[in-house]
């Protein structure tokens, strides 16, 4: 008892320690600072965007010069610093916005600029750990099997040596097994039982296989653009509704049109992982020249042909607005942790059973919606209680989804 308490206390202390330090770590995250403030005009590489690429900038200029420039470049230029004036002559009329960071923030930012991340290594190592975990399980199982087999043979040899010491007939393992098998098969009842069990197992397997026809959970097709939700929704924290804006209003969530991409990618020409290769595909669609930063006149635009992942059959009517706006369901409930997905896959089964299950359990938020006011009163009288599921307001009726 005492021991257990001891460990519990340690655990609490440890987690408190982590909680206490987490914000500290976050505050000095140079990468986050860079991404939220600088990427609109600067790349971490060598490309020129609105401003110059920042590769090797910490070697080129000293720390104080950089801080002075970032704080307020225009005043710095007016002060007559020769390098600053030279830069201004090259880049005007683009004016860099002043950023008044704290000293810690400057430290973090400059540290980040000094050691920009090498992405490939990270993803590769993630893969390695994945494989490692899986092989661990198999080894354990193999070891167990070996140990058990060894145990059986040891027991057998013990039994045999005991029997031989009593001058009884001894049997090898194979002979025992064969005899047992003969005994078993000579009995019809045993055979029938075995047949029945086999049938049940096969039927179950077959039934499950049939149920799985057309179920495409984990469907993860390769998309025409290597677009990462992890970077956009996860790391950069862009709201789902920013791109999938019609989810709130319409039955479809809407794949964003290329002009929505261009809201940011007019400036961000360089991707975190893929460089310019994938972003160029957007420019090819809309007709944009990232070097001159101008749209090409009379360009024959071609839409981006995404592969649809979530395919409901034609016979089922699904409306995003009903679930997102009225029901207040989080996107992740059905689409899974999209913010962690580099390449999106189908998270939910999207079967009718899956829909129905949710409709049986989900309670309808009736307060603060005048549409439900009268119905709510009626339901209270009909069923008693205060909370009602989707099923209770008719959410399982056929023609709610099939028409």
């Amino acid at each position: 008892m005492i021991q257990l308490d001891f460990w519990r206390n340690r655990l609490v202390l440890f987690s408190l320690f982590i909680l206490w330090f987490t914000p500290l770590f976050a505050e000095v995250d140079g990468e986050a600072l860079f991404k939220s403030n600088c990427t609109a005009c600067h790349s971490i590489g060598e490309n020129r965007l609105i401003g110059p690429g920042l590769k090797g900038i910490t070697e080129k200029r000293d720390r104080d010069w950089l801080i002075e420039w970032i704080r307020n470049s225009q005043e710095f230029i007016k002060s007559g610093d020769s390098e600053a004036v030279k830069l201004w002559e090259e880049w005007q009329p683009s004016v860099m916005t002043p950023f008044y960071f704290s000293d810690e923030e400057f430290d973090a930012l400059l540290a980040y600029l000094e050691n920009p991340p090498a992405e490939e290594v990270i993803s590769a190592s993630a893969d390695v750990t994945d494989i490692g975990e899986e092989s661990d399980n198999t080894t354990i199982l193999l070891i167990i099997v070996l140990v058990l087999t060894g145990l059986v043979s040891v027991l057998f040899s013990v039994k045999n040596s005991l029997k031989s010491s009593l001058n009884q007939e001894t049997q090898t393992i194979a002979e025992t097994l064969l005899n047992e098998y003969r005994n078993f098969t000579s009995n019809n009842l045993n055979l029938a039982g075995l047949g029945f069990i086999t049938f049940i197992i096969l039927a179950k397997v077959g039934y499950s296989a049939m149920l799985d026809i057309g179920v495409t959970t984990n469907y993860q097709p390769k998309q025409p653009i290597e677009f990462s939700h992890k970077i956009h929704a996860g790391e950069n924290g862009i709201d789902c509704n920013y791109c999938h804006s019609s989810a709130r209003h319409s039955k479809t969530s809407g794949i964003p049109s290329a002009n929505v991409c261009m809201n940011c990618h007019e400036n961000i020409t360089n991707g975190t992982k893929t460089g310019t290769k994938e972003i160029q595909k957007i420019y090819d669609a809309v007709g944009y020249d990232p070097d001159t930063r101008k749209y090409i006149d009379d360009y024959h635009q071609k839409p981006i042909e995404w592969i649809q992942i979530h395919n409901l059959p034609d016979l089922a009517y699904f409306n995003h607005a009903q679930h997102v706006s009225v029901g207040g369901i989080e996107c992740q409930t059905c689409h899974g942790p999209v913010e962690d997905m580099d390449e999106v896959y189908q998270h939910a089964e999207l079967t009718m059973g899956w829909c129905v299950e949710c409709h049986r359990e989900t309670e309808v938020e009736m307060a603060d919606n005048n549409y439900y006011t009268h119905l709510h009163e009626q339901l209270k009288n009909k069923y008693g209680g205060d909370k009602f599921t989707v099923e209770q307001i008719g959410g399982l009726e056929c023609a709610k989804c099939h028409y």
Binding site: N259, I304, N319, S325, Y371, Y403
Partner: protein, 989 residues
Amino acid sequence: MSEIKKYWKSLSQLNEDPIVKRLSENEFVEELPVDKFLGDKKNLSESQTSRRDFLKFLGFSTAAATLAACENPIKKSIPYVIKPEEITPGIANYYASTIYDGYDYASVLVKTREGRPIKIENNGTHSNARVQASVLSLYDSGRLQYPLKSGKEIDWKTLDNEVKNKLQEIRNGKIILLTSSILSPSTKQLLQNFINKYNRVEHAMFDSVPYDGILNANQESFGIRAIPSYKFHKTNIIVSFGADFLGNWGANNYASDYVGGRNPKSGKMSRHYQLETNLSLTGANADKRIQIKPSEQAYLLSNLYAALNGSSADKRLKSIVKDLKKNTGKSIVLSDSNDKNTQLIVNAINQKLSNYSKTLDISIPCYLKQGDTERVHSLIREMELGEVSALITYNVNPAYTLADNKRFIKALKQVNLTVSTSSYNDETAELMDYVAPDHHNLESWGDAKPYYNYVSLMQPTISPLFNTRQFQDSIISWAEMNEVDYYSYLKKFWSNKGIKWNQALHDGDFNLSESKYFPKRFVFQGKLTDNKTQDKNIEIALYESIALGDGAQANNPWLQEFPDPITRACWDNYITISPSTARDFGLKNWNISNGALNGSLVNIKSGNISLNNLPVMIQPGQANKTIGMAVGYGRKKCGKAGEGIGFNANNFSNSNFITIEKIEGEYEFACTQLHHTMMGRDIVKETTLADYIKDPSSGNERLEFSTYKGKLPSNKVTLYDEHDLKTGHFWNLSIDLSSCIGCGECVVSCQAENNIPVVGKEEVRKSRDMHWLRIDRYFSSEMTKELAVEEKISAIDMFSEMEEPSENPEVVFQPVMCQHCNSAPCENVCPVAATTHSSEGLNQMTYNRCVGTRYCANNCPYKVRRFNWFQYAENEKFDYHMNDDYGKMVLNPDVVVRSRGVIEKCSMCIQRIQDIKLEAKKNGDKIKDKDAQTACSAVCGTNALVFGDRNDQNSEVAKLREDERAYDLLDHLNVRPSVFYQTKVRNKG
């Protein structure tokens, strides 16, 4: 006696023919070359494929194909590159616009989804089935897809250059612009530019169905060549001589006004007399209908005028004269005659009754018809004489619609330059040098001034599908005007007149403040006639069918399959003839074993015009010794769906005397209703206004069942557990049989909304028509149950006589769709629970669950369930637009396209209900009455169909349910429908 008999197989065997002997010995005449095949050891041993291998391959490929079928196909999701600001995928946009094709006019709202027009809704006024169907014509791949020169494709630039050069070269000859009535003020001004640009340009207008009589009469009487505006709701008495004003006569918005004056609840209903030849939609709605021959109209109108001035009336007119005299200033007399003198008499009668400026007003004229047929006749003469050098046509098809089209076609050869702007390579266009195809209405800019002081605007709702160009833009190009395009011209035209363009375009229409027209004083100078026609001649009366009108939209499968409200036949025109005249000529209609209707064939002849092999439809209500024929059919060049259907009746004209000759053979009709009387049942409950005023529930006796508790009304007797219909919504539809005029606009609206396929004539003959909503039409019979009791007629005789409609029957229309029974016979029998009941009082049909036993259809007492026999959307045998890529664009994306092998039926437009509910939930608001509308109720111009939530105490439908006139169809079955009817009230004398 055991003699062995020998039988010979043939005479040759008896004669021991050597060949026969050899044959009988040798069963296989030629030996199979087995040895040769197996003997070829070398080939066999070299072959890599053994029989077993072959079977393995076969098995493997079958398995592979099966597995491949399990694989889901890759679907693409293609977003816009630049999303238009106003489009949210999945949300419909509505645009106010105008439909005008030279014949039909309507101010409409166009529903678009992702930039595609998919449905027409009315913008305040009544329209008709053709306006509803025009959205399908937009996606007709049979439209011209590029400009033509002598039938071959050319580009616009070459066409413009060549046309302009040829126009400039003309020195002496006339240049004629031949168009339909032009409603557009801006187009008229635009044409003036063209007229000024070239030498001797003249603009001639003509209507496919001429209105010269009434126009010329009003010109003479009042100095204005227009149709007066009618105010039917202000009348007590309406007397129409042949004018089918609820159908196709004049403007097509009289119906709402007409029904507005016939509300039994207010205690006031106009009394409507119809004196006509064919049984028209208007005649079917009349309180009293009198059959006359076309040639009698002038005499009867003269007699009526004389009788109003004191002389004695024809006995058929006695009650009319009495009613009219009592209601001066509160009546309307009108006629469809195309004879100026007859129309002058009509004017004189209305003048005598002081109706002008009370119930009809010439100072508020209607400009829908402006054509001048006389001008067309003189044009043909000029063309024959070679005086015309160029002819440009717009919105007209004279080679088809003109009575003397053959002369026109011949004279066309004398014209140097001929240009058509038709959307189709039609009968006229194919004869022209150039075709500069016009946009469809829904792709065009435009305006229309159909009435005094009122203008509606037309705006495009989709980019042009084909390489076509709007007529007005062609004129701008040919007149070498300094304009960007017609749109900027149009915008400037109205902005200069002080119209707020954006607001006007949003509303779709606006009013002008023109000064009223002051007509000149009317003095009657027409001639009265007392010339009764000879009774023995057979006369002809042409009419435009409710489905096709003048035939401009003949290639529209929705319209071709639209059952005529009166005959209930589709995909045809035919001769209508009265039962007794048919007997005189030995003409018959009969049903074959599967119920389909067949009819006799005739040849008809009038002077040197004749038509052969015409089918005969026996039509109760048709005047004796007359025949009726619908124009608009017999198109030779209009596209795959409409070509070769029916015959062209345009060569005849009204009141031609004809001879009929019965010929051998029979004709197969596609008739959607096979029984024409109610057989003494009260399917449509009826009463008269007088009875209704005494007792509002008259004619609507509620059925009572004898139970152990005594007599109880049906809604108190049930064995079933009842659905809880008090919680939430309870959607109900009320159908007022007094207001329903049977126009069928709702039928096409339903077809457009719910992706209902067209099945074609052969399938309709097999009763496989797919319409979810039908309008039953019943004729009254001379025999009634009361009469049978009185005259001691046996039941069998009574029923066989009941089958025969009267010679001049009363007609009732009854829209029937799924009644959404709350104790539904269909739901009980479905073995797979594919049809179930909703908590909102709807009978739901789940197609993906249906296995097609059709048990439900058998058990449905209303016969509203339709079985989907074929994959109509993917079937080349059903070539009715739905199977091609253009035609598919009209499909409603919110409604599933049903596969074959399932039952389908009216869903009460559940997609609309769900949409309105979602909208309310999003806004956190209650659903307001009338917000939710079904496709049928939304377009009903007479307010006969009222949809709403019965649990909303203030809704109109809740009040109508409590009305004394409300009744359930087939009440005795006690199936408790959510659809109910209101008794028909007639204002009989």
